[in-house]
């Protein structure tokens, strides 16, 4: 039986590498595929959301799995890739729950990670030839 275009059997090493690159740095997967306009928009927007989240005293959640909400918050945060790990290992993202902007900042950090997950799905589709 022939493989349909975009089937799982056709996932190449290049597809995996662009997805990993995109997961680590927002937009890098698109840049590798030559989609520079998308790459710059994704990097700029996600970096802006993440940086503002930290500036406004948001909290980065550690990989602790005591409760389901803590796990989901960690997954949303970690979606930002290297931004998350560099900030966490640098001691940033302690968060100040008494800060006026704490809730806003956390939403910025969650959404930065979740948008990067969508960006990785987009780069996967492009690498598989399902999308231009």
């Amino acid at each position: 039986m022939e493989n349909q275009p975009g089937s799982t059997a056709e996932i190449s090493r290049k597809t995996i590498s662009v997805c990993v690159a995109g997961a680590l740095i927002p937009g890098l997967g698109h840049a590798i595929l030559g989609k520079w306009d998308r790459a710059l928009v994704f990097l700029g927007s996600i970096a802006c959301l993440f940086a503002l989240g930290l500036y406004l005293q948001g909290r980065l959640f550690n990989p602790e799995f005591h409760t389901i909400t803590a796990m989901l918050k960690f997954i949303a945060n970690a979606g930002s890739g290297l931004f998350y790990w560099i900030a966490l290992l640098s001691g940033l993202g302690e968060g100040d729950s008494t800060a006026y902007t704490y809730d806003y900042a956390n939403v910025f950090l969650y959404v930065a990670g979740l948008l990067n997950m969508l960006v990785v799905v987009d780069v996967f589709d492009i690498a598989m030839g399902r999308k231009r």
């Binding site: 306009d37 998308r38 928009v41 994704f42 927007s45 996600i46 802006c48 959301l49 503002l52 500036y55 406004l56 006026y100 902007t101 806003y104 939403v107 910025f108 959404v111 948008l115 969508l118 960006v119 987009d122 231009r132």
Partner: protein
Amino acid sequence: MKNHFVLMLIFSICTSLVLSFIAKKSGRERTKYFLSLLCAFIVISILASWLMFPFPF
């Protein structure tokens, strides 16, 4: 920078930009989608905050 409306505006612009580049192909389509998403974010946020105004918490 602690103005909630400005923060909501920045959030809306960044999110709408990413979603419009993911969802649409041509520049014209992206611009149209971006503006409609941005308007939806702003209008719904203001409407929701206005509806929540009477609540004491």
